[in-house]
Symmetry: C2
Subunit: 425 residues, 2 copies
């Protein structure tokens, strides 16, 4: 714990330092809400001499590309808060150990006394390494991370900002795709919805949340990395069973799904590998669509909602937007109070009514760890979600995530027994 930062009577930062903020990883619908929380709290605190945004994440520091947010217009900040994407620009640059000193030199030249970095696992690692190196060098730098990932796979927190909004979008998209299938099973008997998400099934599972108590018979199959299919044939068998039961099948499939033997369903040749070593494989949805057409002889298609799913403000969760803001706000509050080396997290303190408090954990506990979907959230057959997951996840999707849909009763074989049409006089 360091000294709290205070202001002098003149309102100048006693510390005389600037707060530097950055955004990293994939953009989301709510990452700018976190940015707004950080900038707003930093300015209100009155203890910082300025607020600097790094352009496109930590690479922007190395390139000395900054945006001065010190006197940014309040109304613009409020609009940024409700704009998806990352207003500062984002990136996935892997900072080399040999670059840490250069980053600190550049920050020292700008008299940066506090760093707040919004991002996921890799960003937490970067934040931790910068903080540790600063300490080694005796540079009085306070560092904090603010979580952001639609993947929802960061440990040590109830859930991650960005996930609720993505979940709301996907749950609606899958529900809509399902109502389409009910109406026209013969146009496309099988439909895949290919979703993002790397190593954990949170994203895929969220797509199954759109069905109310009177719609549970419509729930899709969900393929999950936590329960990898034995092989493509086992996927086809599950689809066959659904076709048998109700003429159609909707299957949510992560874009990088692997079989139990570790083979990628979309093919084992990555399209490319990013700088953190994450490989990106060909479309699982496309591969399975081909397999179904060939193997089952029925029409199939795949949707791939892609970017809009993690970026849509129109479908964003009000709960998510609020939490993202609070996590940014709290990070600066704690830095001002003297903390450093932490990440802000959401702790669920009440289930009903749903309520989360903001806490902190040491940032090094986040780096390089992934939180999988717990067993209790996965249906016994491994291809769907449980009521426990529904109860846990639904509050994150916001106050009113699903418009009410109606289905007509019966399936139409009502004539002549059940249909009475009066004839004229």
């Amino acid at each position: 714990m360091r000294q709290p930062l205070t202001t002098t009577p003149g309102g100048q930062g006693r510390q005389g330092g600037a707060l530097l903020v950055g955004q990293s990883g994939g953009a989301t619908a709510v990452i700018n809400a976190s940015l707004a929380g950080i900038v707003s709290r930093a300015r209100r605190s009155g203890v910082f001499s300025g607020v600097l945004g790094m352009r496109n994440g930590i690479e922007g520091v190395l390139k000395e590309r900054f945006i001065d947010l010190t006197s940014m217009d309040e109304q613009l900040l409020e609009r940024v808060r409700h704009t998806p994407s990352a207003a500062l620009g984002t990136g996935r640059y892997k900072l080399g150990d040999d670059e840490l000193d250069r980053v600190l030199e550049i920050m020292a030249a700008r008299e940066v006394s506090a760093l707040v970095y919004i991002g996921g696992n890799d960003s937490a690692d970067t934040t931790w390494r910068i903080g540790a190196r600063a300490q080694e060098r005796g540079y009085d730098l306070r560092v904090a991370a603010v979580p952001k990932t639609i993947d929802n796979d960061l440990p040590e927190m109830d859930h991650c900002p960005g996930y609720g909004s993505l979940a709301c979008y996907l749950a609606n998209a899958v529900r809509d795709a399902t109502y389409d299938s009910i109406a026209s099973p013969h146009l496309h008997a099988v439909k895949f919805v290919e979703v993002m998400g790397r190593d954990a099934g949170w994203v895929a599972a969220s797509g199954a949340l759109g069905f109310g108590d009177d719609e549970r018979d419509l729930e899709p199959l969900v393929l999950l990395p936590e329960r990898p299919p034995v092989n493509a044939v086992s996927v086809l068998n599950a689809i066959s069973a659904d076709l048998e039961r109700r003429d159609w099948a909707v299957v949510i499939v992560p874009e990088t799904l692997r079989t139990a033997a570790g083979r990628h369903l979309g093919g084992d040749e990555p399209d490319y590998v990013d700088e953190f070593g994450h490989p990106y494989f060909p479309s699982t949805g496309a591969a399975l669509t081909r397999l179904v057409s060939q193997g089952l002889g029925v029409r199939a298609r795949y949707d791939k909602p892609g970017t809009a799913a993690r970026m849509s403000i129109s479908m964003a969760s009000d709960v998510d937007l609020d939490e993202a803001y609070r996590l940014g706000d709290a990070a600066v509050e704690r830095i001002v109070a003297g903390e450093s080396g932490f990440i802000t997290v959401l702790n669920r303190v009440s289930e009903n009514p749903f309520r989360c408090e903001v806490g902190t954990v040491p940032v090094e506990r986040i780096a390089n760890r992934v939180r999988s979907l717990p067993d209790a959230f996965i249906r016994d057959d491994g291809m769907g979600i449980t009521d426990a997951f529904r109860s846990w996840a639904l509050p994150l999707l916001g106050s009113d995530p699903f418009p009410p849909y109606a289905r007509l009763p019966g399936d139409g074989t009502l004539w002549p027994e059940e249909t009475t049409i009066r004839t004229g006089p």
Copy 2:
């Protein structure tokens, strides 16, 4: 013109006949609004002895699968009105000439005196053929079609129900994908958004509508069937120019795009051919993504919003929902008044304020004709939209289609000249 239908003092249909309604082709966000308009008006008119829904389109008639809507709960009907998909079920069955008599026999057995068929080009053709055969046989059947297609390619009308809602969804999705690209051009320099739409570019063009006057520098490339690219290389050249200009490119591409030589960009082997002879080709987005990675050496990805784009009620246009209802309502009104053999259409009678009236044209004028995007709506280079298209299309997207987004000023190279950070006392 036949006799108007009237009620007897007892309220029984003088005609003594039932109204039969069906839905055909791809489901949309607003086709149930048309259904609600038809059912509601038919019941209010008091002249029909019953209202029957055919299950899954005309094939449901052949299979004698009906749903009795005569005394369907009003609240349920109101909910159906705002439920996407096709509540009766839809289909694409191609009615053989030899099946026309069978259809008429089944309808006669149910004392059907009026047929209203909601659908696109193929459904208009089916409606016309049933009406013509009934006339030949002296069966007093009144027939009407109600337009429905996200493709917006039916002739003889200002625009088609379903298009405005789809356009709203896609315009937002492409805008979101673009803001993502601005924030992280180095993650995916090139992004394709693959959209539906068969032979005309209305759908693809709609995706470019999401940019306000202060966002015109962000407009995407749009590939259009009306201006087919010479070959894949000419597409890559246009993308290269965008990369040169602004580090990123977003490209809207129809799923079945062909080159000027008639070759499908996704490959010439159809995945399958439907019963109307429409072939379905492999993903153009996937093919172009590969080409860009190989040919330009930059990362690319594609989104494929798919089903949800034509089905989302959350993003549906209020104008579209209203028009779809009115077109259904008016079809029954005209039938009651004595008309037959028509399709209801929207005629734009005022540009500002935007206002459409419902009219009718003979249904045979619709069948087997396609309306392409006019030259005036296509940018000179053939890869974008014009202001004329914006003005024409924007009212269809509803009263408030785009949330306001903000961008930070400058691109960050402000230090040290333009950034002044006060140092402490």
